[in-house]
């Protein structure tokens, strides 16, 4: 038995540990130079900052996860700085530097995490505009703020978290512009019963931001990010009035989107998640996909956060062990599933508190760049609908190249789906799903095939 785990974040590491505990030796592959995934990302070299400085309230969890991974290192085959760029029948193609090799596997656990969900605005390609996740990576991994005066914009829990982390680290945050209305935050009262510590922490971030003089605005409609060579300011509308603020950097995002390309290449069936407005691989409560021997866990299976990722990673590991005919601890499975169900309920609360800006798709102007790679405008999508009767994303891609560029739709896919569906007067799921194509990320030119297997 030779299971392959893609991703060494909370989900992948817990899956690996679970297999190791049953005497199975998995292959673990991650693009990053060290384990931890997005939230518990490690620095390239140590510096003066403590785990508490880096991970805040989650410092103990981060340290524990890094320790878990170090503890199983000699019982797994770990390939850091390695990208799985294709999956064929029970074989993964993985590239490290300039060498690619084929890695056969018996089972597959996908723990590929998520990236920011972004929506285009005028000025979103300017130097100084980064995603919320990117803003956080600059700070955590590189010890840098994205500018001298930073505005954070968008929706989702990361908005306040990253703003607070910036202020704590000594950066100047000019404003937090939340696109969701203050009234939506009332939903969090429901969450107080489900996950009191998480909700109270969120309230603390907001009150501390305000106490330090950071303007926090709700119900914001972004109009444009101002500047020619780089960011010079942000203009937005709020209760009918236009506002402008000078700044030299903007961190923004609208919650997260799952990295699902490998699940697609593995042949997994997808379902549309109406709450998250996204397609995700179909799975049962244990993480089994529609493909036998293929499991999925963590944010790559649907956004649920780091704690859920750990639980789901362990649960998927146990499912694999059980399906292989080995003994599993039933009581533990019960505990994991109950905890996961509780977090899922809380996710409903978060989605209502940070709703997607539904009016965006119809209000965004034709001349705004939709696709950063191929520089295709919003209007090109509407024209394809109007002139060529397009109503499906892959057809749109073939005709306009949206989603065909280097990022393979990671940055424009959600927005393209929303604009296409809105232009057709349909719900987002009716636009269909962008299909993944190998290589799922650009691989260096002149990569050498190496027929050696791991």
């Amino acid at each position: 038995m030779r299971p392959l785990i893609v991703g060494a974040g909370p989900a992948g590491i817990l899956a690996a540990q679970t297999l190791v505990n049953s005497g199975i030796r998995p292959v673990v592959i991650d693009e990053a130079p060290s384990g931890g995934g997005q939230i518990y990302r490690q620095r390239l070299v140590p510096d003066e900052r403590s785990a508490k400085d880096l991970y805040g309230s989650e410092a103990n969890k981060a340290t524990a996860l890094h320790r878990t991974f170090a503890g199983i290192r000699d019982r797994i085959d770990y390939h850091p700085e390695t990208l799985v760029w294709n999956l064929r029948d029970k074989v993964a193609d993985a590239v490290t530097g300039h060498r690619t090799r084929r890695i056969p596997f018996s089972h597959l656990i996908l723990a590929t995490g998520a990236t920011d969900r972004v929506l285009p605005f005028p000025g979103w390609t300017l130097p100084g505009v980064f995603t919320l996740g990117g803003s956080q990576i600059a700070l955590k991994s590189q010890g840098c703020a994205i500018g001298e005066e930073v505005v954070f914009l968008g929706s989702g829990p990361l908005l306040y978290l990253v703003a607070w982390q910036y202020v704590k680290a000594g950066a100047k945050v000019a404003a937090v512009l939340d696109t969701s209305p203050l009234s939506a935050k009332l939903h969090l009262l429901r969450g107080l019963f489900a996950q009191p510590s998480v909700v109270l922490r969120g309230f603390r971030y907001v009150t501390e931001l305000m106490a330090r003089g950071v303007a926090v605005r709700f119900g914001v409609q972004p109009i444009l990010i101002d500047g020619t060579a780089r960011v010079e300011g942000v203009v937005w509308r709020e209760r009918g009035e236009e506002h402008r603020l000078t700044c030299d950097a903007v961190g923004y995002g609208f919650s997260l989107r799952s990295e699902t390309q490998l699940a697609d290449l593995a042949g997994c069936r997808f379902v549309f998640d109406t709450r998250d407005r996204a397609w995700r691989p179909e799975r049962d409560g244990a993480g089994r996909t529609s493909m036998p021997g293929v499991y999925i866990a963590g944010d790559g299976a649907g956004i649920a956060g780091a704690d859920a990722a750990e639980l789901a990673g362990e649960r998927a590991g146990l499912a694999l062990i059980e399906d292989a005919g080995l003994l599993v601890d039933r009581a533990r499975i019960g505990v994991l599933e109950r905890k996961l169900a509780r977090i899922q309920k809380f996710r409903d609360v978060l989605e209502s508190a940070f709703p997607f800006p539904e009016t965006w798709a119809n209000s965004i102007a034709d001349d705004v760049t939709l696709c950063r790679c191929e520089e295709i405008a919003i209007g090109d999508v509407r024209a394809a609908v109007r002139d060529q009767g397009v109503f499906e994303l892959n057809r749109l891609k073939a005709l306009t190249r949206v989603g065909m560029g280097r990022c393979q739709g990671r940055m424009c896919g959600s927005a393209a789906m929303e604009v296409l569906a809105a232009a057709c007067g349909q719900s987002p799921d009716a636009a269909g799903r962008l299909r993944a194509q190998p290589p799922i990320k650009p691989i260096p030119m002149g990569v050498m095939a190496q027929e050696e297997t791991a």
Partner: protein
């Protein structure tokens, strides 16, 4: 002018490299993106309109941070560690 502002890691060893032929200094543990954007405000020009770009996601997803080395190799700045003696070039011509 720099885009990024260093708040920490200022005591780490200096790493020298060149950017468009000029001698520059970064810090151990920098990515190429950090090393460049603490000196300059762009990494490349976009392929078609030639608009300035300076990365976006910093996590290897958007592919908007590719730069060149003087021997013509393309590197993704946000996921490449800065190494002493690197000779880096920002991409200054569309569709290079």
């Amino acid at each position: 002018m720099a885009l990024l502002r260093r708040l920490a890691r200022q005591e780490l060893p200096l790493v020298s490299f060149t950017l468009n032929g000029e001698a520059c200094l970064g810090r151990a543990g920098d990515t190429v993106l950090t090393a460049i954007l603490t000196q300059s405000d762009r990494l490349r020009l976009s392929d078609f309109s030639g608009g300035p770009r300076a990365g976006f996601c910093q996590m290897g997803a958007c592919q908007d941070c590719w730069v060149l080395t003087t021997d013509g190799e393309r590197i993704r700045a946000c996921t490449t560690a800065l190494e002493p003696g690197m000779n880096l070039r920002t991409v200054t011509e569309p569709r290079s």
